[in-house]
Amino acid sequence: MTLEIIGISVLWLFLFLYVIVASIDFGAGFFNAYSAFTNKQHILTGIIQRYLSPVWEVTNVFFVFFFVGIIGFFPQTAFYYGTTLLVPASIALVLLAIRGSYYAFATYGAKINHRGYIYMYGLSGLLLPAALSPVLAMSEGGFIKLDDGSPYLDYWTLFTSPLMWSIVVLSLTAVLYISAVFLTWYANKAGDEKATDLMRKYALVWAGPAIITATGIIFELRGHNPEHYARILDLWWVFAISFLLFVGTVYLVWKRRNYGLAFILLVGQFFTAFFAYGASHYPHLLYPYLTIYDSFTNEAMAIALIVAFIAGLGLLLPSLYLLFRLFLFDKDYVKGKSDYHA
């Protein structure tokens, strides 16, 4: 295994973790808003806040980790993606900022319960994946062009591309599906039957659209980037495993059995699909300009980064375990029996 592969695998893993934890976060905001809209807010708000409050900051770090890491391992991405993404990334940043600070302002601080804010918070959770996911479309090539050696983003081609819109729809449905399955499990753990039923319903509603759009994108790629499509076909069996895991999750949720296992299967489904997609993208970071080989940092820095990464994980994993034990797997906390907020 070369250093390049280790580097991109580490980053891809962190992006995956961000996708999962951010989906839970974004989806939770949306379901909270939707339940306020349908006057069912009292059912969900407590559950959602209990989960999000101690962890939302940690969620954010996964994102920072990914973009700092990619500049560290692959400095040339700063040149191509940095130059072209100014506008979309700034919009995503503003949404992220409003979301994070609003959450802290509202739940830790002033305890604002105004509906307008709740809707805005929910809506921003859907706008964010929509703002972040076009980057995946760009990496397929055809949207970033060169003008006299400096790259620019061709907005017209991007916004008229069915591939870009399919990816946006996939990110939205996936966010809602992942979040719903997780919250079903979490509500069930809290012994809250009403919230469990509501979230179970949402999970089943979003399962279909999520899998349909995911499949659709593979076919979009056939026309857009045949090289990539061919490599995806080589990995068909991994996608097949992913599909079986999906069936398993839906079955368990449908039968109201073992929500914990259902969530694990869901993570497995996205893990396999995400890594198979990543592997088929190999070796390109930005088709056709950047591969992981020509943009890689020097060897000394790569080794230093990997050493720092291992040392960092040694610190992080026990801490994350402690966090989960205290909040995710602590019965009294989950059930909301005691409020220990400072």
């Binding site: 002033a110 820095m301 230093a304």
Partner: protein, 448 residues
């Protein structure tokens, strides 16, 4: 829009984001230590007031942390969005501390979440104190690593240039550039100092508003003592920073001091205005610049004449330097007077006027932080990587930076106003007297 325009606009947006972020970042680095000290004093003295102090500070701290996190994310990404050419070059050499900063931040985020949501969950307050150590440590370490990145931009090393390419890169050497000791120490000391004065301002405000609860007196005395310690430390480190500049970045020191000709027995210029090459209305202290630069009154200080015209930083940084130093000196003096007066029980320390001065200390410290950062950043113009890459070569070629300035200015306005509104509401609805009474009632309930 030409490259010069986008370079200028990128500088404006970076200035805007960083100026806003450092307010929250400074609080983020300093306040956990103050909370930790209050908690520790409370446990040691078995005084519930200090524990409550820690708890109330922690509540307000969450709000500032939230804004610090989101603006920090903004500047983290803006580095690549606005300065892609710089990040491409520097990413090869300086990625390690950036990466480690994220780990420190991660560590802090995890334990802050735990700390905030486990109040009273542990019977023993000492266990709860243990959770604060990783929070304060993570906060301090992230400031260390990010200042290391900034030090590299001021004193790049750890690579060689061969045919325009960077070769023989040593990540560790790049991390420990000569600017690191003074910069890191100064950033940390000023963050602690500013946080202490900000918290003192709150206590002074409550006392001015007519509350003479002993809780506020304890808070004021504790924070002013800490303010004194850290402002003295800041002044000492500031002196070392001057010596560092004289040795490694003489053009920055010369521009700050309007020191045009290389000479021995150089005088220090305080205040004044610049008219062409004439300095007017200034207070001049003989030999002081030589002492600041090299420690002896007769040593030689390099003047601006030694540098090419297009490599000299703008001369208005003198005003920033003066602002920073004057405020620093004033705060050291003020806290010293307060601590002596409180200790000797002098009555003037309880007058309205004196409390007004104490109230102003926090905001003034923040002004000094801003002035200090502007001084150090503008002082290395025209370089983004001193001696290697000019700022104009590093900026994005994108033509939409102007729109982004408006977008982010709007965001920071909302966040700034939001912080103030939420914090005042939070404390006004639940003043300490009310919270203490509620706790008394709780305890009474337990006994029955």
């Amino acid at each position: 829009m030409g490259i010069e325009d986008s370079a200028f606009l990128s500088r404006i947006l970076t200035l805007l984001t960083l100026s806003f972020h450092i307010i929250y970042a400074t609080i983020g680095v300093g306040v956990p230590l103050m909370i930790m000290i209050a908690q520790w004093v409370g446990i040691k003295k078995k005084d519930d007031h200090y524990i409550l102090l820690a708890r109330r500070w922690a509540r307000g701290f969450v709000i500032t942390v939230a804004v610090g996190v989101v603006t920090g994310t903004a500047i983290g990404l803006q580095l690549s969005l606005l300065w892609p050419n710089f990040m491409q070059l520097a990413g090869n050499v300086i990625a390690l501390p950036l990466f480690m900063e994220v780990f420190a931040f991660f560590f802090e985020a995890i334990f802050l979440g735990i700390y905030l949501y486990t109040w009273d969950r542990f019977e023993d307050q000492r266990k709860h104190l243990l959770l604060l150590i990783p929070v304060a440590l993570g906060a301090a370490m992230s400031s260390v690593f990010i200042t290391i990145v900034n030090s590299f931009m001021n004193a790049p090393q750890g690579f060689e240039v061969l045919n325009g390419e960077l070769v023989n890169i040593s990540p560790l050497l790049a991390m420990f550039s000569p600017a690191v000791p003074t910069k890191v120490a100064h950033v940390m000391a000023t963050a602690f100092m500013t946080s202490a004065f900000l918290l003192a301002s709150i206590a002074a405000l409550r006392m001015l508003r007519g509350s003479d609860h002993v809780y506020h007196k304890k808070a004021l005395f504790l924070t002013m003592k800490l303010g004194l310690v850290f402002s003295v430390a800041t002044a000492l480190i500031g002196d070392f920073s001057g010596k560092y500049l004289a040795e490694y970045q003489p053009e920055k020191l010369a521009a700050a001091e309007w020191h045009f000709e290389t000479e021995e027995e150089a005088r220090l210029i305080l205040f004044g205005v610049l008219d062409g090459e004439d300095v007017k209305y200034a207070i001049e202290i003989p030999y002081a610049l030589s002492i600041l630069a090299h420690g002896t009154p007769d040593s030689e200080v390099i003047g601006l004449e030694e540098f090419p015209e297009d490599e000299i930083p703008p001369l208005w940084i003198h005003y920033l330097f003066d602002t920073m130093v004057t405020i620093g000196m004033w705060l050291a003096f003020l806290s010293f007077v307060y601590v002596v007066a409180a200790w000797r029980n002098w009555s003037f320390a309880r007058t309205k006027l004196f409390r007004w001065l104490l109230l102003l200390s926090g905001p003034l410290a923040l002004v000094a932080i801003e002035a200090g950062w502007w001084f150090t950043e503008v002082g290395r113009q025209p370089w983004i990587l001193r001696g290697y890459m000019k700022t104009s070569e590093a900026a994005t070629t994108s033509g939409q930076v102007d729109l982004m300035i408006i977008l982010f200015a709007g965001l920071y306005f909302i966040l700034g106003v939001g912080t103030i509104v939420v914090l005042t509401r939070m404390y006004r609805r639940n003043p300490v007297e009310k919270e203490l009474a509620a706790r008394e009632a709780d305890k009474g309930g337990d006994r029955q």
